[in-house]
Amino acid sequence: MEEHELTAVIEALLFVAGEPMSLGRLAEVLEGADTDRIREALDTLRQNYDAAGRGLQIVEVAGGHQIATRSECAPWIKTLEKIKTATRLSRSGLETLAIVAYKQPVTRGEIEAIRGVDSAGVLKTLLERRIIRIVGRREGLGRPMLYGTTREFLQYFGLKDLSELPALKEFKEVAETLPENEPIRETAGDLTN
């Protein structure tokens, strides 16, 4: 297959796939076409889509490549009545999701220990939206279920893979930072505040 033919076929495949197409999946469909050549064709395609006057783009999400609209066109797309915009995640949803994303695989108990509140309802909503999933069980007492993120999670936030998550802010251990020789105890006077 010529380079421009390969580009054309890949474009058509990305269009019909409706989900991120990995290099591997493309190679499978293209019956053993060289991965390097596929990568090159994808680059050409991406450049074509980055030309002025295009309403579409090729994005790399969830371990694959996918055609998507450009955000500048969003206002008009939203007026198409059949296009449903996803409901935003609630604050508790985002908080819980952040814990799942960074600590996965993680149990409900661990999530609740960090959040300080019951999280069953939030977890259920996230499961139903397929943003998280049950990935197994933790060994040991009670063998609690473990939660992790899904491919939809990556897609929802436009992430290539989990390594793209920004690093979680580290904090210093309390012991290191507490003023060493300062009196910890407050005077009784403070209590009148």
Partner: protein
């Protein structure tokens, strides 16, 4: 008039939980998180809780637990330094709480990062359906299939079949008792069965043994009789009543 009906507006920010509220208070009072003035924060915290109560808002249990924790920490700070313990061993009573606050804070910040990504990617649409729409799709990719999907499917199907009882699995045990009633059952429908036909349904050696034991038991109880009409002829099993009319 409106002003009279609503004499004052209390703007009560919503908090995700006690830790969230504490972080808010810490920020509001520009407090160093590593050196929290515990009595100030406890006072502020309890004030907030009483405000919630006066507004008839349900105060979740977690908030009360935290109130108790704060009061406990405060009481410990009031105790004179213990003389028996080494100074080094003595732990700051606030340490646990500070660790929890710091841990919670980083996920709260990460969640804010998620929110801005969400806003950005909500403007991007795919084909045929835009991503992240609510509700289950008709088909599911095997790669994405999760245990939750399986449980949801089971729950759905069970809900749709509420009246059908007796769905309990028959444990596949071969009991002699069962085999006995099966034989008697057959003898109700057929006058007699040949000995070999008894084993027609048995696929395993164990099943055959069970059938044979069942037959022996039935003979012992005189519920069936076996007859061989001629030498080397077929052995037939008869129900006893057929032979011994009462």
């Amino acid at each position: 008039m409106d002003d009279l009906q609503t004499p004052y507006a209390v703007k009560l920010p919503a908090f995700e939980g006690p830790l969230d509220l504490l972080l808010h208070l810490i920020k509001q009072h520009e407090i160093n998180i590593y050196d929290i003035p515990i009595s100030l924060i406890t006072g502020q915290y309890l004030e907030y809780l009483s405000l919630m109560t006066s507004l008839n808002l349900a105060v979740a249990g977690e908030f009360l637990v935290m109130a108790a924790t704060l009061i406990h920490i405060k009481s410990r700070t009031l105790l004179p330094p213990s003389e028996t313990n080494d100074e080094e061993d003595e732990e700051d009573p606030r340490a646990d709480l500070v660790m929890r606050l710091l841990e919670y804070q980083r996920f709260k910040e990460a969640a804010q990062g998620f929110e801005s990504r969400e806003n950005e990617w909500r403007e991007v649409f795919y084909r045929p359906a835009p991503h992240g729409t609510d509700g289950p799709t008709d088909e599911i990719n095997l790669v994405d299939m999760s245990l939750f999907d399986l449980l949801e499917a089971l729950r759905g199907v069970m809900e749709r079949a509420p009246t059908r009882q007796g769905l309990e699995i028959v444990v596949d045990e071969l009991s002699v008792q069962d085999q006995m009633s099966l034989i008697l059952d057959r003898l109700e429908r057929e006058e007699s069965i040949t000995f070999t036909a008894l084993f027609d349904d048995d696929t395993t050696r164990l099943a055959m043994i069970v059938t044979f034991l069942a037959l022996l038991e039935l003979i012992r109880l005189k519920r069936v009789r076996i007859l061989q009409a001629e030498l080397f002829g077929a052995i037939r099993v008869w129900k006893s009543t057929n032979l011994q009319p009462s």
